[in-house]
Symmetry: C2
Subunit: 220 residues, 2 copies
């Protein structure tokens, strides 16, 4: 079972690592990081450089595709070669997944038309422009398409998907292995729970960094 | 504010990335990954290679030290150069932290003597041999020493520490930015919550991979 995690310049590291740390522990799993240009791919904070050995052409039939989000997502919306690859490998996957605003890349590739999906809360309203139906759920399954909310939600998605693939005991064992018994020090992890002024500030700041298209974008 | 994240062969990626994705967003933070041998450092699953530019000698006065755990932790317990560096930089840090069995490295460096600390649940019983007092808490503050439980707990630690450093609103904003509103599909993330047979199996499997010393080890 090959898991392909697509990286691009200015991805968000935890978006990729949440699914990685869970799904890579499935029996028989082999994970490959893949990018348009192999080498060191840097994240959107700038301090992580992840070594990528596989070019797009090297990965043609993954069983699971994971598309993380990140501040570099916007540029990928017009990256024809990358979107073509996403569409092509989707023809072979058992599961096509995304974390955070990675779902906008799936949407731009035309894969979420008419499907329920999610995204980072700041970019959720960009889904209808890609003909997807946004939900307020943290992890959304629609057929073989699995989208997760912002950044850290990839852990929840990875465990949920592990359960579908290998059964509950395996997924529970992975959860116990990473001691995922979350105890956040605040209850501020979603826009309706965080203090209103913090939500407003962050929405404004991230909204500038992750703009939707000025004109409604047609999925390709 | 420099955050130094120590890597070594066969570290656990999420151990390092949980604190990274939270602490690196503190105002004025600069994160550096550091290792005995710079270059690509591989994790304990084997598919992640993280680019490390700084050697131990290049990082002498970090404000925050983060020591992740991993299957390679055992070998580092006898790595004098690495333990010497941990002790030396600890002389300059404001916060010295670990995730998972990374606390055993802090302990081997002699930094947890007489302190309350935690570790991955499988290795918790190795703390007394390092003169530390194990607790059942997920994140343990004892003076400037902050230790977190297994793998995913580094996210909780990063947020708690962000709050101590920069105040609650900043930490809440970071939590909202990574949409950390966890919804695990199972309640199996700690040994007392997971089904007993799963806990027993994992304890046996990980216990072999992460053995304590045959003779009680004296912290250096």
């Amino acid at each position: 079972m090959q898991i392909a995690i697509l990286l691009y310049n200015r991805f968000t590291t935890l978006d990729a690592i949440g699914p990685y740390q869970t799904l890579s522990q499935l029996p028989g799993a082999e994970t490959v990081f893949v990018a348009e240009r192999p080498g060191i791919v840097r994240d959107d904070v700038g301090s992580v450089g992840l070594a990528v050995e596989a070019a797009l052409a090297d990965v043609t039939e993954p069983d699971i595709l994971v598309v993380p989000g990140g501040l570099g997502q916007v540029e990928q919306m017009d990256n024809g070669a990358l979107l073509d690859w996403v569409r092509a490998v989707d023809g072979h996957t058992t599961w096509t997944t995304s974390v955070c605003n990675g779902s906008l890349i799936l949407g731009a590739a035309g894969l979420l038309k008419g499907r329920r999906a999610t995204s980072h809360w700041v970019t959720l309203d960009q889904l209808p422009g890609l003909e997807a139906e946004p939900t307020g759920e943290r992890v959304v399954f629609d057929g073989k398409y699995v989208t997760a909310a912002g950044v850290s939600s990839g852990i929840d998605m990875g465990l949920a998907l592990a359960g579908r693939i290998a059964g509950d005991p395996v997924a529970q064992s992975i959860q116990l292995g990473i001691e995922y018994d979350p105890q956040p020090p605040y209850d501020a992890g979603s826009p309706d729970k965080a203090p209103a002024e913090i939500t407003a500030l962050l929405r404004e700041r991230l909204g500038v960094l992750l703009p939707g298209p000025e004109q409604p974008r047609q999925p390709r």
